[in-house]
Amino acid sequence: MGAIFISMVSYTLFGQDLMNYANSLNYANYLFSKKDYQDAALEYKRVALLEPNDTLAMLRLIQSYRLANDFKQAHVCLSNFFPDCPFYPEPFATENIKMLFGTHQYQQCLDDLKLNASIDSIIKIKYELGSLLMLHKWNEAKNFAERQFIINRKNRMLDDMYQTALQGIDLKLKNPRLAAVYSGLIPGSGKAYTGQWKDGFYAFLFTSAFSWLAYASFKDKGITAAGFIYGSVAFSFYVSTIYGSVKSAVSYNEQAKKRLMRRVEVWMDN
């Protein structure tokens, strides 16, 4: 009996419980620092279970889920930690904003930013401007940035975003209908209008070559099957080029907007 007691005492004193709060937190922090966010989330969940009042561990848990792109779990944790709470306190409010932005809920992000006064002003400016730009509200973004310039004139990131808003306002989009009309008049010219010169040239070359073949066949041999085949191919190329020009214009516009949005995303990640 005595031996058992001594062994238990020695185990308690010297044995290492890997699942206790301190070790779990230690291991979770290690995983978080190694950017192994999925495993870190698992560990922080254990830490949160062992010590429900550890706010920092809960914050890290939400961050781990967010950084592992598991926004759904991050949101569940946040809601469970603050049930029936209209506004999250800092720094959880910032996490919520980042999650909304990460899940492309830009309008919700703007609404929350306006209502929640506890969020840090720099974060507020960054995400409000970012959301406006992502929603293509170029003029609103420009006015917002100009208002912020009065307070902070030498902010380089703000200046970058202001320039992006100006570029958004000046964005010259291609008219898909005009592209279709161009290609209807001269095959391939609609594609050239959208910047796809090589595609336009190829479309012109093949459509005109088969049209000429059809014309030559009908002229030399009269109404023959070969003439109809050449004519059908030429007509297919002609109609497809008109369709392709519309598609190319739409794609051009999307790409132009995406380029600006990518700049915003890079800015937000920094």
Binding site: T12, G15, D17, L18, M19, Y27, S236, S240
Partner: protein, 369 residues
């Protein structure tokens, strides 16, 4: 009482490893890995050898050979016994072999050298043999296979000698000869490879296109580039079929050889050849209407008899024919057809990385539907 509770719920490294072992036995490798990694983090250096080895084992089963190598490497660095270090080094070499990186495997084998125990010496010889076999250096491979056997086991040695005789045909058919034959007379290279249908297909397509050129001289501008493509395609395919035939022979020979080394069953599937031909018939299976059935047949005939003879000309991923089928499936016949023809007009050699993003693995431009 407090001591009792503390001890009852406390989990030391041994308990965590035990739990991980049970997960491992249940084939729940992801969770087992999580537990092993926790044990590895808290372990003392002496214990890291065992845990590192277990983690590497999990990664091996998940076919993540790079991570497996890194943990075998750390187990090796923590191991204090020379015998243990050799074992881990051989495991690292096994990972290289599973990655089919036989050159590096041979280099690492040279680093170990033959000065090891009897057990590891046999393993060393076997791994050397497999690496040479993978590099198609069959003479060296069979010499090493021989050394990996017990000299007293005359039955196995006789079997290996028989397989050595058969191995002389492993390099047949020669890809260069097949390509040369197809260059001289289209289709003959494929026939030399044993692919009679492909050979006949090549002759038919090229003959047909030449016939069309004579019947419709005004079409020569369009038919000649296609004749050129199918001719060059025939030469390339003849070489490829030869390689495929050789790989199949290599697989068969390897599986026969490995029956002589039954304790190395984890290396059995090393040279297994998978059928890489895509299943075009899936379109036919999904076809509901008569139009779908006809377009699927048209697509399959094009793929089997024309596209199979062509060079890898399409610059896009997916190819233009697959794109058109997908477009028809998504937008209906009219818009799908227009979309497909437009794609054909966009598929030209002057496309650059500025126009479309490039898939580095396939070296094709991404243009999904």
């Amino acid at each position: 009482m407090l001591l009792l509770i503390t001890n009852a719920i406390a989990q030391d490294i041994g308990t965590v490893i035990g739990f991980a072992d049970s997960l491992y036995n249940e084939r729940n490798y992801n969770l087992a890995l999580h537990e092993y990694r926790r044990a590895f983090f808290f372990s003392e250096d002496s214990n890291k050898v065992l845990v590192g080895q277990k983690i590497a084992g999990c990664y091996l089963l998940k076919a993540d050979y790079c991570m497996a190598r890194s943990y075998f490497d750390s187990a090796c660095s923590y191991s204090k016994s020379v015998y243990g270090k050799t074992g881990y080094r051989l495991q690292i070499i096994r990972c290289y072999m599973l990655e089919k990186n036989f050159e590096t495997a041979l280099l690492r084998l040279n680093e170990i050298g033959t000065d090891t125990s009897h057990y590891y010496s046999k393993k060393y010889q076997l791994y050397t043999a497999i690496s040479y076999f993978g590099l198609q250096q069959y003479d060296e491979a069979f010499q090493a296979f021989n050394r990996a056997l017990d000299p007293a086991d005359s039955v196995k040695i006789t079997n290996l000698l028989n397989l050595t005789e058969e191995s002389k045909r492993l390099k047949h058919p020669y890809p260069f000869v097949a390509s040369l034959m197809s260059a001289l007379l289209p289709g003959t290279g494929q026939i030399y490879d044993g692919c009679w249908v492909e050979g006949a297909n090549s002759i038919l397509v090229l003959g047909g296109l030449t016939g069309i050129s004579f019947a419709f001289p005004e079409l020569v501008v369009f038919t000649v580039p296609f004749i050129d493509r199918y001719y060059v395609g025939g030469i390339i395919h003849a070489g490829q079929y030869a390689h495929e035939r050789r790989a199949k022979k290599q697989e068969r020979s390897y599986s026969q050889i490995m029956t002589l080394y039954p304790e190395n069953e984890q290396l059995l599937g090393l040279f297994s050849t998978r059928d890489k031909r895509p299943g075009y018939r899936s379109y036919l299976k999904q076809a509901d209407t008569l139009g779908d059935v006809l377009s699927s047949y048209f697509f399959i005939i094009y793929k089997c008899f024309f596209s199979s003879q062509d060079v890898d000309a399409c610059v896009f991923n997916p190819t233009c024919s697959v794109y058109m089928m997908e477009a028809i499936k998504r937008h209906g016949y009219f818009i799908g057809f227009l979309d497909g023809v437009d794609r054909l007009l966009r598929c030209h050699p002057f496309i650059t990385a500025n126009d479309y993003s490039k898939d580095t693995q396939t070296d094709k431009f991404n243009d999904p539907n």
